[in-house]
C-alpha cells in the first residue's frame, strides 16, 4: 500500500448478550452511543470527518443505510456522507477496508469506520404462504370474497414465523447452519468436545482477567493518561448502565460446559451454545486517518494498518477463512506465523479456531489448499486471543471485525509489541485479515 493508514483511536459498546426478546438498544443506538463518545475525545469536530462507513449484517427495517443514519445522529451534519457495507461476519472489517481504499485513493483523509449489529432485534418474518394470503386479500373487492378468503387462513401459517436470525446464520447457498460448518471442521481435523470446551473455558477466563486488569477501560492500568478506553458504557432511557460485556462468565467450567447439548447437529454433534460465540448486540468503531490528517489535527495514533486480504473457500468450511486470508498476507511480507507478535482470530466457534490451528499444521491441507510446500506451523496460544474472544465476549456479527482490529492495537500497545494480525471467518466461505503495526515511539506519525 502506498499511503500509510493510521488508526487514531477507537471505541466500542459492551457486547450485550441476547436475552429473551429484543435488547435495550437498536443497532443505530449502539453505534451512536459508542461513536459520540469516541468523537468527543478527538480534537476535531464530527463535521470534520470525510465520511462515516458502517458495516452491518442485519439492520432493522427502519435503519435503511444505517451508516448515514448514524452519521446524522452523531452530529456529523448533513454534509458528511455516511454509508453501509455488508460482508456478513466481516462487515465491520469491510468498513475499515473501504475506508482504507478511500484514503489510499485520496478521496478521504479522516474516516470513522466500524460495525454494528443488534442480533437480539432480528425480526420474525411471515412465511411465504402467509405473504401470499395477504396479497390475495388485497386483491379482493367484495365482502363475500373476503370472508371466503379469510376462511383459508390456517393458524399454522400465522403462528410459525420465519426466524430472521436463523436465516441470517444459515449459508444461503449450501443451506448449512454456521454451527454445522464448525462441525465439519471438527470432523475433518478430529477436534473433540473436550478440546472445544477447554478452549471455551479459557476464553472466558482470559476475558475476565482482562476486564479485571482494566484493559477495556479508559484511564485504568496501561491506559492511564492515554484516554484510549475501548469500552464506552451504555445508558438507556431508564438510566440503566451497561458497562461490561455481559456474556463473560466468571463461573465458566468444564462441568458447566458439559451440561449443554449439541445445538446444530442435535444429539450427535459436538458444537454447543457454550462453545460457540454468543448471540449479542454491540458496535465497534475505529478512526482512520491519512498522514496529512494526523499532522493537521496533531493526532496520536494507536497504530497503522499495513495490509489487508480477503480470500474465498468452500462455504461448508467457512471457519477456515482466517487461514486462507492470513497466509497470503504473511507470504507477501515474508513472514511466518511466529513473526506475528499477537493474533486476534475471531472465535465464531471454539472448533473454528482449533480448526484453523489444525489446518496450518496439516501437511495435506497446507499443500493442497494453501499452496504451501509443507506444514506452516502453529500460532502460540499465548499470543492468540490473549484477552478472550467471541465465545466469551460475544459476536454481534457486523461489529466483530472492527472489534478485533481495535482490540489488537490495544494488545500490541500494552505489550510494547510491534506486529499483529486480526483475522475473521465469514459465513458464505470467506476470510478476512489485516496486518497491523504499532507506531514507532519517536515521531513515526508526526
Amino acid at each position: 500500500m502506498s499511503k500509510t493508514i493510521y488508526v487514531v483511536d477507537g471505541a466500542r459498546t459492551p457486547f450485550l448478550k441476547a436475552q429473551k426478546g429484543p435488547g435495550p438498544f437498536a443497532a443505530s443506538d449502539l453505534a451512536t452511543q459508542a461513536g459520540r463518545a469516541l468523537l468527543l475525545r478527538q480534537p476535531f469536530a464530527p463535521s470534520d470527518l470525510d465520511e462515516v462507513i458502517l458495516g452491518c449484517a442485519a439492520p432493522s427495517p427502519d435503519e435503511t443505510n444505517i451508516g448515514r443514519m448514524v452519521a446524522l445522529r452523531l452530529g456529523c451534519g448533513k454534509k458528511v456522507p455516511g454509508w453501509t457495507v455488508m460482508r456478513n461476519c466481516a462487515s465491520g472489517m469491510q468498513a475499515i477496508d473501504s475506508a482504507i481504499a478511500n484514503i489510499q485513493s485520496g478521496r478521504s483523509e479522516l474516516v470513522l469506520a466500524g460495525g454494528v449489529d443488534a442480533l437480539s432485534r432480528a425480526p420474525l418474518l411471515y412465511s411465504d404462504a402467509m405473504v401470499r394470503w395477504f396479497a390475495g386479500m388485497m386483491s379482493l373487492r367484495t365482502v363475500n370474497q373476503k370472508i371466503a378468503h379469510f376462511l383459508k387462513l390456517r393458524p399454522a401459517m400465522l403462528l410459525t414465523p420465519v426466524i430472521g436470525l436463523m436465516k441470517g446464520l444459515t449459508d444461503p447457498v449450501v443451506g448449512l447452519l454456521m454451527g454445522q460448518t464448525a462441525e465439519n471442521l471438527a470432523w475433518r481435523f478430529g477436534i473433540d468436545r473436550q478440546q472445544m470446551d477447554e478452549f471455551s473455558v479459557r476464553s472466558h477466563q482470559r476475558a475476565l482477567a482482562a476486564r479485571q486488569a482494566g484493559h477495556f477501560d479508559a484511564n485504568v492500568g496501561a491506559n492511564v493518561g492515554a484516554n484510549f478506553g475501548e469500552i464506552v458504557p451504555l445508558v438507556d432511557g431508564n438510566g440503566k448502565v451497561y458497562a461490561e460485556d455481559d456474556g463473560v462468565r466468571a463461573d465458566a467450567s468444564m462441568a458447566g460446559m458439559a451440561k449443554l447439548k449439541p445445538f446444530f447437529d442435535k444429539k450427535y454433534g459436538n458444537v454447543t451454545a457454550a462453545n460457540s460465540s454468543q448471540i449479542t448486540d454491540g458496535a465497534a468503531w475505529v478512526l482512520l486517518a491519512s498522514e496529512e490528517a494526523v499532522r493537521k489535527w496533531n493526532l496520536k495514533p494507536l497504530g497503522k494498518i499495513v495490509d489487508s486480504q480477503w480470500s474465498g473457500l468452500e462455504p461448508e468450511q467457512m471457519g477456515l477463512g482466517p487461514v486462507h486470508a492470513s497466509t497470503p498476507i504473511l507470504q507477501r511480507h515474508g513472514l511466518g506465523l511466529a513473526d506475528i507478535d499477537y493474533w486476534e482470530l475471531n472465535e465464531a466457534f471454539a472448533a473454528q479456531v482449533l480448526g484453523c490451528q489444525a489446518a496450518w499444521q496439516d501437511e495435506a491441507y497446507c499443500r493442497e489448499q494453501l499452496g504451501l510446500p509443507g506444514v506452516f506451523g502453529r500460532i502460540d496460544d499465548e499470543r492468540l486471543n490473549v484477552d478472550g474472544g467471541a465465545v466469551a465476549i460475544g459476536h454481534p456479527v457486523g461489529a466483530s471485525g472492527a472489534r478485533i482490529v481495535l482490540h489488537l492495537l490495544h494488545v500490541l500497545r500494552r505489550n510494547r509489541a510491534r506486529r499483529g494480525i486480526a483475522t475473521i471467518c465469514i459465513g458464505g466461505g470467506l476470510g478476512g485479515a489485516m496486518l497491523l503495526e504499532t507506531c514507532a515511539e519517536a515521531g513515526d506519525a508526526a
Binding site: L40, L74, P233, G239, V241
Partner: protein, 645 residues
C-alpha cells in the same frame, strides 16, 4: 375588463399592512405583513384595513379568499397589546371589543368561501380571525400553535372566540383552551376539529386552494358536544366553574369566570353583557397581567444584542440541578456533555432527561435526537468543545476552586464559564482563575423544566461581554434572563428566605402549617410558604437561613424537624407528610386578620432593599424576577407594584 380595472384600483388603494393579491384563478389572497413589526398583531389600523379589503371584495366577490401571513414568524400573534394598555374609559373598552366582534362577524357572513392558512403562531385575535373563516388549514410545523391565551392577560376572547371555538371543537375542549390559555399544534388542531386539515408546507399552497374551492361542509360536532354546547350549557358551565375554582380565586382572577358566563349565558357575545366588559377590562388584574406580559418581554430583550450563539454546553455535576440543566439544553437543541465522576452518577439524569424528551417532544424521532445530543462524559472531554461551561457541583469553595483550575486551560477562547451556585460568592470562587473576570453566575431554579427565570449573576469587575453572552445563552434556551449583581441569595432566594422564615415563625407561634399556607394562598401565592420549605428541603432552608437571615435564631419548628431528619418532600416527611408524593394537608384553621400582610412584608421589604442596593437594576425588573422566580401573585403586578396601588 372593467372589473379588473376596478379591482386594480381597489387593491391599489393605500394599505400599510395588508396586500390583496388577485390570482388568475379568481382567488383573492389577503397577506398580512404588519409594517415595522417582526410579528403580526391586530391593531385598530390593521383591522380597519382588513375592513377595506372586505369592502373591496363586496364589490367584486372573488371565487374565494385566503388569509395568510407575510411574515416568516407566524400567522398572527393576537391583538395589539400596546393598544390594550390605553383603554382608560369604558367606552374605549367596549369599542375595542366591538371592533373585532363586528368585523369578524362580517367575515364569517361573506358569501364566498374563506380560508385561513395558519403557519406558525396563531393566537388570540389571530385565531378568532381564523375561526371566522370557513376553513382553517394548519401547516404541520413545530412552530404552528393555535390558542386563545387572553385569560393569561386577565381578559377574554371577545372577538368571536367564545362563540366559534366551542362550535368548532365542542365546549369541553374549547373551555379547556380558553380557561388555561393552552395552545395546540397543527396535528392536535386537526384532531380536535379546529383545523380542517393539517398539511406539510410543501403542499400548503395547493391544499389551501383545493380546500377553499371544495365546497366541503364543515364536519358537524358529535351529538353529545352539540347538546353540551346547547341545552346542557349550564351543566358544563357549573363543572367548569368548579374546575377553575381549584386553580384561581375569582377575587384574584375574574376573567376565567367571565369567560364561562359569557359563553353560557350570552353565546360568547361580550357586547351583550357590557357590564362584564367594563368590569374585566378595567380590573386591576387585567392591567397587572398586561404589565407582567411587558415585563416578560423586557426580560426576553436581555442578550438580544449579543453576538453569541451556543452550540455545545458542558455541564459539570449530574445532580438534580446539573442533570436537569443539561437535559433542558439538549431539549432546546444544543449538544450537551454532562460530566460527573462516573457514568453511574450521570445515569439517573439521563433517565430524567429521557422522560422530559418523550413528554415534551412527543415525536419519538425528535426525542431520540435529543437523547443523542445529551452525552454522558465522565472524562470531561466536552470542556474543550463547549461554548458554555456550567459548574453545578456541590457547594464547596475548595472543590470548585480545584475544578475551575482544571477547567480554565481547556476552555475555548470566548467560551462562557458559569457557576450555578446559589449560596457561594462569585468573588470567592473566581480567585482560582487566571482570568477571574470571565466567571459569571447562571443560576437556574428547581425544577428547571418548569421555572422560567434564570438569574445571570455579575460580580464586580466581571467581563461585560461574558454577562451579555450568558444572557444570550439563557434566552437561546427559552428561559427569561434576569441580570443581577453578586449578593447573597441574588434576588429570588434572598427574598424567599425572610418570607419562609416569617412563615415558620408563625408556626412557632402556634399556627398550623395549613393555616399559614392558606393565608398565603388566599393572598395569591401559587404555593404556601410552608409547603415551599418542604419542597426546597428543610436542610437547604436552614443553610439559606443562616446565610440570609443575618444571624437570627432558626425557627424552633425547623430545628426540631431537621434534628429528626425530616427534611421535607425528599425524605417523605417535613412539615407535611409526603409519603404519597404530595403534601397531605389537613383543614386550615381560621386565618388571623392581617396574617398574609405580616408574612409578605419581609419579602417586600427585602425587595426594596435589593433595589436600593442595586442588586437588581430597577423596581420593574425586581417585580419581574420575583414573579417569574417565585410565582409571586402575578395579578398583583409584583411585590413593589402592588405597594404602589
Amino acid at each position: 375588463m372593467q372589473r379588473d380595472a376596478v379591482m386594480e384600483q381597489l387593491t391599489g388603494a393605500k394599505m400599510k399592512h395588508w396586500q390583496l393579491i388577485k390570482e388568475n384563478s379568481g382567488i383573492a389572497v389577503a397577506v398580512l405583513d404588519k409594517a415595522e413589526e417582526s410579528a403580526n398583531s391586530l391593531s385598530a389600523e390593521v383591522l380597519a384595513e382588513f375592513g377595506q379589503i372586505l369592502d373591496q371584495l363586496d364589490v367584486y366577490p372573488p371565487k374565494g379568499l385566503i388569509v395568510r401571513s407575510g411574515k416568516a414568524a407566524g400567522f398572527i400573534a393576537g391583538a395589539d397589546i400596546g393598544e390594550f394598555s390605553q383603554l382608560d374609559t369604558q367606552e374605549k373598552g367596549r369599542a375595542l371589543v366591538d371592533r373585532g366582534w363586528t368585523l369578524f362577524n362580517r367575515l364569517a357572513a361573506v358569501k364566498y368561501p374563506t380560508l385561513a392558512l395558519v403557519r406558525g403562531h396563531c393566537l388570540g385575535g389571530g385565531l378568532e380571525l381564523a375561526l371566522a373563516c370557513r376553513y382553517l388549514l394548519a401547516v404541520d410545523e413545530s412552530g404552528t400553535k393555535m390558542g386563545l391565551p387572553e385569560v393569561m392577560l386577565g381578559i377574554f376572547p371577545g372577538w368571536g372566540g367564545m362563540l366559534r371555538l366551542p362550535e368548532r371543537v365542542g365546549p369541553s375542549a374549547a373551555l379547556d383552551m380558553m380557561l388555561t390559555g393552552r395552545t395546540v399544534d397543527g396535528k392536535k388542531a386537526k384532531k380536535l376539529g379546529l383545523a380542517d386539515d393539517c398539511v406539510p408546507p410543501r403542499v400548503m399552497e395547493m391544499a389551501a386552494r383545493q380546500l377553499l374551492l371544495s365546497g366541503q361542509p364543515r364536519r358537524p360536532l358529535p351529538l353529545m358536544q352539540r347538546l353540551l354546547n346547547g341545552p346542557l350549557k349550564a351543566v358544563v358551565a357549573n363543572g367548569a366553574r368548579k374546575q377553575v375554582a381549584k386553580k384561581a380565586r375569582p377575587e384574584h382572577y375574574p376573567a376565567p369566570y367571565a369567560i364561562i358566563d359569557l359563553w353560557a349565558k350570552h353565546n360568547g357575545n361580550a357586547l351583550a353583557a357590557p357590564e362584564v366588559v367594563d368590569r374585566i377590562i378595567s380590573s386591576p388584574t387585567a392591567r397587572n397581567l398586561v404589565r407582567v406580559f411587558h415585563l416578560q418581554e423586557r426580560l426576553k430583550g436581555f442578550g438580544k444584542d449579543a453576538n453569541f450563539r451556543a452550540k455545545h454546553v458542558h455541564v459539570i455535576g449530574a445532580g438534580v440541578m446539573g442533570g436537569d440543566i443539561a437535559a433542558w439544553c439538549a431539549l432546546r437543541g444544543l449538544t450537551v456533555t454532562l460530566q460527573d465522576q462516573t457514568v453511574e452518577r450521570i445515569a439517573p439524569a439521563i433517565a430524567r432527561a429521557s422522560k422530559l424528551f418523550n413528554r415534551r417532544l412527543r415525536d419519538p424521532l425528535k426525542a431520540r435526537l435529543a437523547f443523542d445530543r445529551l452525552i454522558p462524559d465522565p472524562q470531561g472531554e466536552g470542556v474543550r468543545h463547549a461554548d458554555v461551561v456550567i459548574e453545578a457541583i456541590f457547594e464547596n469553595v475548595e472543590a470548585k476552586h480545584a475544578l475551575f483550575r482544571s477547567l480554565e486551560p481547556k476552555l475555548k477562547p470566548g467560551a462562557v464559564l458559569a457557576t450555578n451556585t446559589s449560596s457561594l460568592r462569585l468573588e470567592d470562587l473566581r480567585v482560582a482563575l487566571q482570568q477571574p473576570e470571565r466567571l459569571v453566575g447562571i443560576h437556574f431554579f428547581n425544577p428547571v423544566a418548569m421555572m422560567p427565570l434564570v438569574e445571570v449573576v455579575e460580580a464586580e469587575g466581571c467581563n461585560a461581554g461574558a454577562v451579555q453572552a450568558a444572557c444570550a445563552f439563557v434566552k437561546q434556551i427559552d428561559k427569561l434572563p434576569l441580570p443581577v449583581k453578586s449578593a447573597p441569595g441574588f434576588l429570588v432566594n434572598a427574598v424567599l428566605a425572610p418570607y419562609m422564615l416569617a412563615a415558620m415563625r408563625a408556626v412557632d407561634e402556634g399556627l398550623t402549617p395549613e393555616t399559614v399556607d392558606e393565608a398565603m394562598l388566599a393572598f395569591g401565592m401559587p404555593m404556601g410558604p410552608i409547603e415551599l420549605v418542604d419542597t426546597v428541603g428543610l436542610d437547604i432552608a436552614m443553610a439559606a437561613g443562616k446565610q440570609l437571615a443575618g444571624g437570627a435564631e432558626p425557627p424552633k419548628c425547623l430545628l426540631a424537624r431537621v434534628e429528626k431528619n425530616q427534611l421535607g418532600k425528599k425524605t417523605g416527611q417535613g412539615f407535611y407528610d409526603w409519603s404519597s408524593g404530595r403534601a397531605k394537608k389537613g383543614a386550615p384553621g381560621a386565618v388571623p386578620a392581617g396574617l398574609s400582610e405580616k408574612l409578605a412584608k419581609p419579602l417586600v421589604d427585602r425587595v426594596h432593599r435589593l433595589v436600593a442596593n442595586g442588586v437588581v437594576a430597577d423596581a420593574d425588573l425586581a417585580d419581574a424576577g420575583v414573579i417569574f422566580g417565585t410565582g409571586f401573585a402575578p395579578f398583583t403586578g409584583g411585590p413593589l407594584h402592588r405597594g404602589k396601588g
